[in-house]
Amino acid sequence: MDFYLTALLQGLCFSALALGIYISMKIFNIPDITTDGSYTLGAVITAILIKHSQPTYVILISVVLAGGLAGALTGIIHTKLKINALLAGILVMTALYSVNISLMGTSNLPLINVPSLFTLINISANLNYNTFWILSVFVIVITLIIGYLLKTDFGISMRATGNSESMIRSLGVNTDRMKITGLALANALTAVSGYLVSQQQGFTDISMGIGIVIIGLGSVIIAETLIKWLKITSIWLSLVLVLGGAIIFQFVLAITLDIGVNPNLLKIVTAVFVLLIVSLPRISFKGNQND
């Protein structure tokens, strides 16, 4: 059972990442893969600052700022230099690898027996339960902030930017600046996932971000499939489904491992699972291909 609890905890840790991908991919319509780099960046900064005994809120603020900076950089390259968003993301992600390894000075930093976000308050004697409660509150707060943001005038402009650029420009919004802000926000959230995961698993590794974008994409795609099936238009429900997507995704991986699939095959299982989720609606509605 502990195995599945860990999956749940990981799902919660990754929900910030999923929200980040939701913002870049669904709200702004930009395929952003700065993610791999900004996620590790968040974890690296967390590890270094924990080693320097900084309070957890200082660490969180630093992580948000660093992730935001990485995202803003991708946004600036994309909008100001008119470079394809995918390439802009790859460039920043590649550069971040060097930044991360230089910052850390080593490829792995263990964080055992150090105070972290999850030892901040003692709700339960069991560390896993304690982590669960703190994580839940943390994720709920983030979701409330993002949900509120998307409801504000600023948030409506954000949503319109990805939807009809000509319209929102004619309504007085600088879409370049809006995209830069959006990518900054998305990557700040991604970095927060790195912050959470490094503390939850007790180490930061330079390669922990490789292919992490698929977790966010998978979660968002699960959510999107449900949103389409259930014809949901509410922002709040959409965000909850994105969180659900992140947790379902980790459970699928946990079940895969539990039934004895070779861990080396985990990535192919991930890929096939995401493919399945994407293609499922198309397979079941074969009748109207023009849809």
């Binding site: 943001l149 504000t152 005038d153 409506i156 319109a160 009809s164 929102i168 420009r169 004619s170 879409t175």
Partner: protein, 249 residues
């Protein structure tokens, strides 16, 4: 209100596919004028309109709107005084957003989009009231995504959205080109009403010569990036519809 001084626009300058879209146009539009622009495809009408809106910058020449030099000002800054309706209904509204959210954005066109929630009951009622003036029965659908409406309904709403915030200039780029005759009629009549009620200065580009005849108090014909004909108020009212057809003959 709008002064266009010796404006040129050259696309792909110096290359084999160079296009001189607009050639030395001088055009002065008075306050509360309703100017109709007609002309064949490629005559430079839309380029000229886009330069007034700010989505295309002139290669040379200057543009003044309401006394302010806006020649190099981007479209999102000019939107403080200029509202637009596009040819494609998709361009003027956001499909995935609700009608209400679309109207919220329109109502703060000239203001900051801040971190407060502006969609409240007062605002909802205000939007409902506005929309009911169209008589299309859309006032009870304001929570629906804009994408569920027809092109005609969307164009009519786009027009209404343009006067949700202070507006001096209204640019209409073939607003009815994608619509059936009945919807087109509703949109054009709505446009005329709003232009009159809000005393807007407006420019209409159209290929529909009946509309060109029926609406506006000044008409120009463009050809090869130049103004070929320019008929002011009295001359336009003396114009017969058949004369217009002869222009294209």
């Amino acid at each position: 209100m709008i002064d266009i001084n010796n404006v040129n626009k050259i696309f792909n300058a110096g290359q084999p596919n160079q296009v001189n879209a607009v050639n030395g146009v001088d055009l002065h539009i008075k306050n509360e004028d309703f100017l109709v622009i007609v002309g064949a495809n490629g005559s430079g009408k839309t380029t000229l309109l886009n330069m007034v809106a700010g989505s295309v910058f002139p290669s040379s020449g200057t543009i003044y709107v309401d006394g302010e030099n806006v020649t190099k000002q981007p479209d999102y800054r000019r939107s403080r005084s200029i509202a637009r309706v596009f040819q494609n209904p998709m361009s003027g509204t956001a499909s995935d957003l609700s009608i209400l959210d679309n109207f919220r954005l329109a109502s703060i066109r000239t203001k900051r989009k801040g971190l407060s929630i502006g969609v409240n009951d007062t605002f909802k009622n205000q939007v409902k009231e506005k929309i009911s003036t169209l008589g299309l029965g859309l006032e009870n659908k304001i929570e629906q995504p804009m994408g569920t409406l027809s092109g005609g309904q969307r164009q009519a709403l786009t027009l209404l959205m343009s006067v949700m915030d202070s507006c001096k200039v209204l640019l209409l780029d073939e607003p009815t080109a994608a619509l059936d005759p009945r919807s087109a009629d509703i949109v054009m009549r709505t446009a005329e009403e709003l232009i009159r009620d809000y005393r807007l200065t407006s420019i209409l580009i159209t290929h529909n010569l009946k509309d060109a005849f029926n609406y506006g108090n000044r008409i120009i014909l463009m050809g090869e990036g130049k103004i070929v004909k320019d008929l002011e108020k009295d001359q336009k009212s003396a114009l017969k519809q058949t004369d217009l057809y002869d222009w294209f003959g």
